[in-house]
Symmetry: C2
Subunit: 76 residues, 2 copies
């Protein structure tokens, strides 16, 4: 079973990578971009008996820094 | 308007970050994970008149390395 995990910075946390990308897009001449937030994306191939609690623990312990990041788990 | 961009390694491209995460998950005692692929995720806030062609160009020129990465654009 495939599982997608999105890790994003919590609202209010400064995002220097996003700011740099935003600035670079403007430098390349792209207008109309108001904001860019950078995050991470993981695709896991897991056995069917892996529970939601397991996936949650994987995210909390390894994939995301829960002090500054949120994560979202989607089974696909 | 919000736009989500997923950047993932093309199939067949070696993913050392994913391999390291996979190995770390096993080390933490999580069984049942067969594979991990790591990617990037961007959320852009753009004006309504930004075209799909513009978004495509942003991805091809800056957000993704199209030699080894695919990107997927979703307007939300």
């Amino acid at each position: 079973m495939k599982v997608q995990v999105h890790v994003t910075l919590k609202p209010g946390v400064l995002d220097p990578q996003g700011k740099a990308i935003h600035h670079a897009l403007e430098g390349l001449g792209f207008a109309g971009v108001a904001d860019v937030r950078a995050g991470r994306f993981f695709e896991l191939e897991v056995a069917d008996d892996v529970t939601d609690a397991d996936l949650d623990a994987m995210c909390a312990k390894l994939l995301a820094n829960t002090v500054i990041e949120n994560y979202r788990i989607t089974r696909v």
